[in-house]
């Protein structure tokens, strides 16, 4: 006897007619919900997310379908849980398609049956596996939500409704299978390895009872499926469509690049104040959120108790978009902390003020942790900066502290109140002359490396020590370098991140104009913010340069033997921990070179903080936050300093003047000045240099 089964066993023609007729409902509900969402996206501004189709498709397959961005080393439980849910559902879905193909297409149209023999046995094996995976995934999800309870996990009724439906679908499938086997007693029943033992128990019941139970559960199974499918587009389960689409249409530009406002002079409105001001891709972004909370895990504001929670910000906007689009929101959230609870509050609200508060927007340090860890490539930072742009350029609403910064940038080309002609005053503290670009060019001399010092490195007494240290290293390595000196201006990064795009573009164009006057091979800078602006944003305005961070250059110099380190002159020995600055780490993927440098330092043992590399925790100074007061929650810099101290290290190695400033404050804040210090990478290296030429180290180290 060939193994197979009767499809729709115990189900009459009327039931089949009813089943296929009722199919109209889930299809209509899904189409309605998706049409609504697409119509909302189309209200957004144009943005080019087209082209590079192969890259997009590969990314969507790797990162979404094959869970490349969902299963991560530190997210194994959640990743496996999702893989079970996804894999189980897909197996069962394909299983249903196979049955439908046999019953509705190949047999009636071609008289060909394939649903038998070994194929059928393999099918049974796999479908049972799919059901078990689905149940396992749901049980893991419930354990995670009710037992493990990560602090960033939020559980609303919607989450549980969906999980319960998935579990019930699988249980119903097993029950229906077991009830049929209980009557039919297939000789190959054991291939249904989960429902077969159940069917043996059912064999003890009367056939009529089993048939009744089977009929009821068969209908229950299909009605649950229809309700689930109908609900799909109105719940977070819509991410099945939107996340995949979002990953496919993800931005392929560098993560650190913030798009400029095009035609700034001609623009009639600035930034984002209404739904229609978002780009279509950003509106798709908010619909792609699957509420996992990974954006919160390393978020400095969430972890220090501030207003901004990136996930909630996205969900607030998603809810507002749903209200505007007239989509029924299936989210029955929990009142206290759930952004989703506020869905359905109506479309007649102001985006900034009612939906998203200015406090949330100003909290952001633009560290990018949310974007880096989002499994579906949601880009929180550009949206936040977009709304900041509206507050600054259109409403004139921004923290008072920024007034000084804007004034300084406008008048002095630096966020600090130092005149332009003091930019190269630090050179007097170096034991040897520091070449100036203009002088070199006037003399017709070639320059290999342009050292872009940055505003903090030029004016701030603490950061000047880094500048001097890097100068010493460059001199020691015999690099043909020069600085812009009094010609250097702010790259515009602080203004750009707080939303003053007008000022940012002005400064950026000024800097590009200056840089374009000269000929050099590459730029080196100790400031990750300058690095990111020059590398990723200047190409938008015609500035194309090879730029390296000082950690990369120093690592190269050590590797190639251009500088030697002397154990006897090391300024730090023992344990040193390294902090990854957001703007070279997450934004530009520079993780190994700074560690290479620390590891090369004589007598130094690199100890890692728990949150390192792309999981690094912000210093709290990015996104213009260094120029603003931190008034709510605990202080971000102190949280990070405490984490560094907990490693047992005595020195925190920084590679960014912003981080340096924040950590100096943080160390004072936690009262650890006597036992703990922060040093820039360049300082540690310069302090360990085996000098080939005499230098005035006393002058270099005096800090003034």
């Amino acid at each position: 006897m060939i193994p197979t089964r009767e499809i729709l066993w115990n189900i009459g023609s009327i039931s089949r007619i009813a089943l296929l007729t009722l199919m109209v409902l889930p299809f209509a509900f899904i189409a309605f919900g998706l049409a609504k969402r697409v119509s909302i996206w189309l209200r957004g501004q144009p943005e080019d997310r087209f082209g590079d189709w192969a890259v997009r498709l590969r990314g969507a397959l790797q990162k979404s379908i094959f869970h490349g961005r969902i299963i991560r080393r530190n997210k194994l439980y959640a990743g496996i849980m999702h893989a079970c849910l996804f894999g189980g559902f897909i197996i069962l879905f394909i299983g249903t398609l196979i049955v439908a193909t046999e019953d509705d297409i190949t047999v009636p149209l071609f008289g060909w049956s394939f649903y038998n023999g070994n194929f059928y046995l393999g099918y049974k094996l796999m479908v049972n596996l799919g059901g078990v995976m689905l149940i396992a995934g749901v049980v893991m999800a419930f354990l995670r939500r009710f037992v493990i309870r990560p602090i960033y996990q939020e559980t609303a009724a919607d989450d549980l409704i969906l999980l319960t439906m998935l579990l019930v679908l699988s249980v119903q499938g097993f029950v229906v299978q077991a009830l049929r086997l209980g009557v039919e007693k297939d000789a190959w029943g054991a291939w249904s390895w989960v429902s077969y033992p159940m069917s043996i128990v059912y064999q003890g019941m009367s056939e009529s009872t089993l048939r009744d139970l089977h009929w009821i559960n068969w209908w229950g199974h299909f009605l649950t499926t229809f309700v689930f499918l109908g609900y799909l587009a109105y719940s977070k389960m819509v991410h099945v469509f939107t996340s995949l689409t979002n990953v496919f249409f993800r931005r392929l530009r560098p993560m650190g690049e913030l798009a400029s406002i095009p035609d700034l002079e001609e623009a009639e409105s600035f930034g984002i104040a209404h739904l229609e001001d978002f780009s279509w891709a950003q509106l798709m972004n908010v619909d792609a959120c699957m509420h996992c909370g990974r954006c919160l895990e390393y978020c400095p504001t969430f972890n220090t108790g501030k207003d901004l929670r990136p996930r909630d910000l996205i969900l607030e906007i998603a809810g507002f978009a749903a209200d505007n689009g007239g989509i029924f929101s299936g989210e029955v959230g929990e009142g206290e902390n759930s952004a989703r609870f506020r869905w359905g509050a109506g479309p007649d609200r102001d985006l900034i003020g009612d939906v998203v508060t200015p406090a949330e927007l100003w909290d952001c340090t633009t560290c990018g942790a949310c974007m880096e860890h989002c499994p579906v490539y949601i880009e929180h930072v550009p949206m936040i900066v977009g709304m900041r742009r509206n507050l600054v350029l259109e409403q004139g609403e921004f923290p008072d502290e920024l007034v000084t910064m804007f004034n300084n940038l406008e008048r002095l080309n630096s966020p600090y109140q130092f005149p332009q002609n003091q930019r190269d005053d630090w050179t007097r503290k170096v034991g040897a002359p520091v070449p100036i670009m203009a002088e070199k060019a006037a003399a017709g001399e070639e320059v290999e490396v342009l050292f872009f010092v940055g505003c903090l490195g030029s004016f701030d007494s603490r950061s000047q020590q880094t500048t001097i240290a890097l100068t010493r290293i460059l001199q020691e390595a015999g690099i043909n370098f020069a600085i812009l000196g009094k010609e250097e201006t702010c790259t515009g990064d602080p203004a750009k991140r707080v939303g003053n795009e007008y000022l940012a573009q002005m400064l950026a164009m000024q800097t590009v104009e200056t840089l374009n006057q000269y000929s050099f091979k590459k730029i080196v800078t100790a400031c990750p913010h300058c690095f990111n602006a020059i590398a990723n944003e200047y190409p938008q305005i015609g500035g194309h340069y090879e730029v390296v961070h000082h950690s990369q250059l120093i690592n190269q110099l050590i590797d190639e033997g251009h500088i030697q380190l002397d154990p006897d002159s090391a300024i730090a020995t023992g344990k040193v921990t390294y902090h990854d600055p957001c703007y070279i780490g997450r934004y530009n993927g520079v993780y190994d070179e700074p560690r290479g440098v620390v590891n090369a330092l004589p007598g130094v043992e690199l100890v890692e903080m728990g949150r390192n590399r792309n999981k690094s925790f912000c210093c709290g100074g990015g996104g213009g936050r260094m120029f603003m007061e931190e008034t709510s929650g605990t202080r971000i810099n102190q949280a990070r300093v405490n984490e560094a101290i907990d490693t047992g290290a005595e020195v925190l190695c920084a590679a960014c003047p912003f981080c340096m400033t924040m950590f100096e404050d943080g160390i004072r804040g936690v009262g650890a000045e006597e036992t703990f210090a922060v040093k820039d990478l360049a300082e540690l290296v310069a302090g360990s240099l085996r000098t080939k030429q005499p230098t005035n180290s006393a002058t270099a180290d005096d800090g003034e």
């Binding site: 199919m23 299809f27 049409a35 960033y152 439906m165 003890g204 559960n217 206290e336 509050a345």
Partner: protein, 176 residues
């Protein structure tokens, strides 16, 4: 213009005409597709013309998709169904959850009746025990997930949206 270009232009204009016609008459076309599909299904199942079934099901599905798109693209403020559903979300949620789990729960509980029934069956005790264990685990999982879901829906239904916005985030994840 060459003959090829003429043909391309004609094809493009026909395509535009079809697109425009479908766009303007989407609702009627969708209802017609559904009705035709339903009629085909009746013929297929009651008249034993099963070759029709897949086409009938396709038309029904297409009709559903068309109706969904047509209403989905309509002015949101004229749609009352979403508001109605939102205002009854809790009731719908509870009823759906209970209705979904009830048949499976009944069937799983009914397994008890199969332990000792039907004399003369050659069933091993181990197989019965294993079957019962699987059924029991499924029953527990179904009841627990369903119960937690109903409780969460009921709890959430008692809260008002305004409360949520008023409540400032409390920094539950604060390092301090």
């Amino acid at each position: 213009m060459s003959t090829v270009e003429d043909a391309q232009a004609t094809a493009a204009s026909r395509l535009d005409a079809v697109r425009s016609f479908v766009g303007q008459h989407l609702r009627v076309l969708s209802i017609a597709a559904f009705a035709l599909g339903f009629a085909g299904l009746l013929i297929s199942e009651l008249g034993d013309v099963h070759q029709l079934r897949v086409f009938a099901a396709g038309l029904i599905s297409l009709g559903g998709v068309g109706i969904g798109i047509d209403t989905g693209l309509a002015d949101p403020r004229t749609l009352r169904v979403p508001d109605w559903m939102r205002s009854r979300a809790a009731v719908i949620g509870v009823v759906s959850t209970v209705a979904a789990i009830a048949p499976a729960v009944v069937a799983l509980v009914a397994m008890v009746g199969g332990i000792n029934g039907a004399d003369g069956l050659d069933r091993s005790d181990v197989a019965i025990a294993l079957g019962l264990l699987i059924g029991f685990l499924m029953l527990i999982a179904t009841l627990m997930t369903g119960g937690l879901t109903v409780l969460r829906i009921v709890r959430a239904a008692g809260e008002s949206p305004a409360d949520g916005r008023e409540h400032a985030p409390n920094g539950e994840g604060a390092d301090a």
